[in-house]
C-alpha cells in the first residue's frame, strides 16, 4: 500500500471538520453539539500534525512547530470543555431541557 501524502491527510481533516460543522448546525441535542465541536478541534489538530509530518526543513530535521501548537490546542480544548459542561448543567437546571429548539427566548 503506498504511503498517504499530505493531500490525503488534509482531505481527511477537512472531512472531519465539515462533519463537525454540520453536526453543530443540525443536531438538536446540546451534548451532541458539544461533541461535534470537539470533533472540529480534533480535525484542526490533525491538520497541524500532518503539516508538521510532511514539512522537513532546514538541516534535515523535521519541523515540530505544528506539534507544539497541538499541545496548546489540547489544553485549551480541555478548559473549554470544563466551562461548556458547566454552562450545559446550569442551562438544564434553568430550562429542564437539553433540546436546543426549545430555547427561543432570543426570538425578536
Amino acid at each position: 500500500m503506498p504511503t498517504p501524502s499530505l493531500n490525503e491527510y488534509l482531505i481527511i481533516s477537512g472531512l472531519l471538520f465539515a462533519i463537525g460543522l454540520g453536526g453543530v448546525i443540525m443536531r438538536r441535542n446540546i451534548i451532541v453539539i458539544f461533541m461535534c465541536l470537539e470533533l472540529m478541534l480534533a480535525a484542526a489538530s490533525l491538520t497541524l500534525v500532518a503539516f508538521s509530518r510532511f514539512n522537513v526543513t532546514d538541516k534535515g530535521l523535521p519541523d515540530y512547530d505544528g506539534q507544539m501548537l497541538v499541545f496548546f490546542i489540547i489544553t485549551v480544548a480541555a478548559a473549554e470543555v470544563a466551562v461548556g459542561l458547566a454552562i450545559i448543567v446550569s442551562l438544564y437546571r434553568a430550562r429542564q431541557s437539553i433540546h436546543t429548539d426549545e430555547l427561543t427566548s432570543l426570538k425578536g
Binding site: I25, M26, R27, R28, T100, S105
Partner: protein, 600 residues
Amino acid sequence: MNPWLLLIIPIASAVIIQLGLKRNATASALLSTLSVASTFIIAYLLLGKEHSAAPIEWINVAGLKLEIGLQLDSLSKGMMIVVTAIGMLVHVFSLGYMKNDEAKARYFGCLSLFMFSMTGIVLASNFVMMFIFWELVGLSSYLLIGHWYHKDSAADAAKKAFLTNRIGDFGFMIGILMLWGIMGTVVFADMDGSKFSPLCTCLTGTVVLLIFCGAIGKSAQLPLHVWLPDAMEGPTPVSALIHAATMVAAGVYMMARFYLSVGTELLPAWSSETIAWIGGLTSLFAALMATQQNDIKKILAYSTLSQLGYMIMAVGLVDANAGMFHLYTHAWFKALLFLGSGAVIYACHHEQDIWKMGGLFGKMKITAITFIIGTMALTAVPGTSGFFSKEGILHAAHESNQALFYIAVIVAALTTFYMFRLIFVAFFGNAKNEHAEHAKEVPPVMWIPLALLAVMAFASPFLGKFIPATEGYHPHLGFEMNAVTIASLLAFAIGFIAALTLYKGKTSDPINIPLFRNKFYFDELYAWIIKIFQDALAAIIHFLDAFIINAMIIGGLTRSAVGIGNIFRRYAQSGSISGYAFLMAVGALLVIYFTVFASK
C-alpha cells in the same frame, strides 16, 4: 424758507413726544400744536413763489434709482395749506376736547406722525415716495382710530381700516410697477403721457384702474368703503382731520397728481367711465345709508363717503380740477361739521345718538349756528363755497354723462334730506335726554376753530391762491340760471321740505328702512365671503396635512422602514440556536474567502 422743514418739523415733534414727553401731556400737546402752526406759516410763506428742493438720492443701484424729493406746484402748495390749516384748527380743538383724556401725549404724538405722513403724500415727487407715505398715513390712521384701544370696537375698527386699505394698496402697488415699466421712471415731473400711445388701450386702462385701486381703498369708495363708518370709533377731532378733510382726500389728490403728470389725452374712456361710475354709485349708496343712521358721527361719515364719491366722479369725468376744488371746499366745511359734532358730543357728555339730543340751538348758539352754516355749505345753498364746487361737478356731469348727472342730483336731494334731519332732531325740538337739558356752550378753545372754519365755509372759493389745482385755475364763481343750477336748487328744496315735514318736532324716527340702516349688509356679506374662503382654505390645508403628509409620507416612510427591518428580523433574530450557528459558519467562511483567496 426751506421746504424740507415742512417734513422735518412734524416728525421731530412726533419723535420728541414719543421718546421724551410721554408723561407730560401738556408739553406734548403744546409741542404738537406749535409744530403744526409753524408748518402752516411755512406753507403760507411758500405760496406763490417758485421753490425747488433738491432731491435726496435714496437708492442708486444698477438700473434702480429712487430718490426722496419734493414737488412744489400749485396743486401741492394748495393742498399743504388745507392740510396744515385744518390740522392746526384740529390741534387747537383737541386741546379742549381731549382735556381729560388719559393718553393725551400719545394722541398728540400720533397726530404729529399723521401730519408728517400726510405732508409726505402731498409733497411727494415720485410715486414710490408717495406709496411709502401712503402706508404711513394708513398706520397713523390705525393708531388714531384705535386711540381708545381698550374698547374692543375701537381696536376692531382700527384693524378693519388698515386691512381694507391694504387690499386697495395691493392693486395700487401693481399699478405703480406697471406704470414704472411703461414710463421708465416714477418721478412725476418726468412722466411722459405719450409713452402710452404704442400700447393697446386695455393695458393703459388697466394701469389707470390699478392705480385707482389705491384711491378706492384710501378714499373709501365702493366696495372698500366699509372702514370709514367704523373709523368713527376714534376721537372726534381725529375724524375731522383724517376722515373728513385730509387722509380720505389723499386718493383724490393722488388721482389728480397722476392725471396732471401723465396728461389725460391718451387715457381710455372706459377706465375713466368706470372711475366715474364707482364714484357716482358710492355717493348714491352712502347717501341712502345716511338717511337712516342715528349716530351723529356716522351720519357725517356717510356724508363724507358721499362727497368723496362726488370728487371721484369728477375725476372720472376727466375734470380733476373740479374734483380738487370740491375737495378743497369740502375739507373746510366737513371739518367744521365734524368739530361741531365734537362740540355737541362734548356738551352732551359723550352722547352720540341724535334721538337723545334736542333743543341744542337754544343752549349752544355758536356751535349751532356754525353747524348750520356747515350744513348749508354741504347742501350747496347758493352763496356758500359748497355751492360753487358742487356746481362745478354737476356741470361736468351734465356735459359728459346724463345718467351720472341725475344720480348726482338725487344725491344732492338726499344730502339735504339727511343733513336737515340731523339738524331738526339734534338742534331743534325738545331735549330728549337730561344731558341735552343741561348742555351749555363749549369753551372758547373749541368754538374759535368752529368760527374760523365757518368763515372759510363762505370765503374759501375766493382765496384763489389756496386752491389746490393746476396753475391758473379759476373756478366759476358766478350765479346764473341754467339747467344745472335749477336742478341743484330743486334738489335742495325737495330735500329740505321732506326733512321739515318728516322730522320737525319728532321724538322718534318715523321712517324705518332696515336695508339702509344696516348699510346694505355689506359687512355681513364680506364676513360671509371671508368665512367661506377661510373655511375652504382650512379644509384644504387639513387634507394636505392629515392625508398627504401624515398618512402617506410619514406613514409610508414608517411602514417601509418597518418592512425592511422585518426582513432582517426573520433571518437574523429567529431565536433558533442552529440558525445562529449556521449564520456564524457562513460568516466565517466569507471572511476566510475574502482574506485568503479574493484579495491579493
